[in-house]
């Protein structure tokens, strides 16, 4: 979770960086758009059941690394800001962190068969049936 806390603050930094670094035009808009999205994805992935959402920040981090060249930034502060923050976001979004609770197999278990929740339910059912017979 710590990595996603940092990523949230990196997103908030992006939101505020145009004002702090004095960026204008396209780099400012890019930071104003990407920042809140990164912060939101990071915040949602604080919780274990939605930890997977951290990966949505991978393409956003990659975009930040590419944006100065795709959008043709000229201010070196803007180029450095987007590239450094982008690399940090990508690295941190790969950190899964500890998962303490069990979730019956998670989201993929909603579609797949032979999942932890289905098996646990079967055991519970068998146990109940046996008790009823006795």
């Amino acid at each position: 979770m710590r990595a996603q806390v940092i990523n949230m603050f990196l997103g908030i930094w992006l939101m505020s960086s145009p004002a702090i670094l004095g960026l204008e035009g396209t780099p400012a808009s890019n930071a104003h758009i990407v920042g809140p999205v990164v912060a939101s994805f990071a915040l949602i992935s604080w919780w274990e059941a939605t930890r997977v959402v951290r990966l949505y920040n991978l393409p956003l981090g990659a975009w930040l690394v590419l944006a100065p060249w795709v959008l043709g930034y000229t201010a070196s502060a803007a180029i450095a800001n987007d590239m450094v923050i982008g690399i940090l976001i990508m690295g941190l979004s790969l950190v899964k962190g500890k998962i303490d609770n069990t979730y019956g197999g998670g989201w993929r278990a909603v579609w797949h068969t032979n999942t932890p929740h289905a098996n646990a339910a079967r055991l519970q059912q068998d146990y109940t049936d046996k008790n009823r017979e006795e």
Partner: protein, 186 residues
Amino acid sequence: MQEDTGIPPGWNYNPASWGQRMPIIILAIVGFLIAAYLALFQFKVISDVWEPFFGNDSRKILTSKTSQILPIPDAALGALGYIADAATGAIGGTKRWRTMPWIVIAFGLAVGPLGFISVLLVILQPVLYDAWCTLCLATAAISVVMIGPAMDEMLASLQYMKRVKDAGESKWKAFWGYKSIQGKVM
């Protein structure tokens, strides 16, 4: 047989317990109060809006074209959204992930779009109006905070629906929590 604690099979806690749901309900009520306050300004019931950091910006945002894009001002819609979140968070007992999946899934679906629209509005503030509105940012943060903790309960309901399907029982009856299906699927 162990006591029926309402813990879903394969889980180690119950996502529908009050300890899990109460913080979200409280957040939704706080979000409602802030949004309602902003809506009162937009309805011109109050003539001023509290803005500690950004001077005249809140006024600029709350009277912008975007905020009037729909027949009722956006903060009023937000207030309705928070009420929907609080209501769908509060309705039902601690086993509602299997006794009434419809409300849990409605809850998950109510929380999602509210968060999405809030983030969109946060983006539009600086991009279109070069302004920030403190209380709008606060409500947006609240709506995003609610998403994570709401989703575990939805996951438990969706897994339950999958077990219903695999057991060959009626998904329709399970979704609406018909009495006839209660207890048939763990």
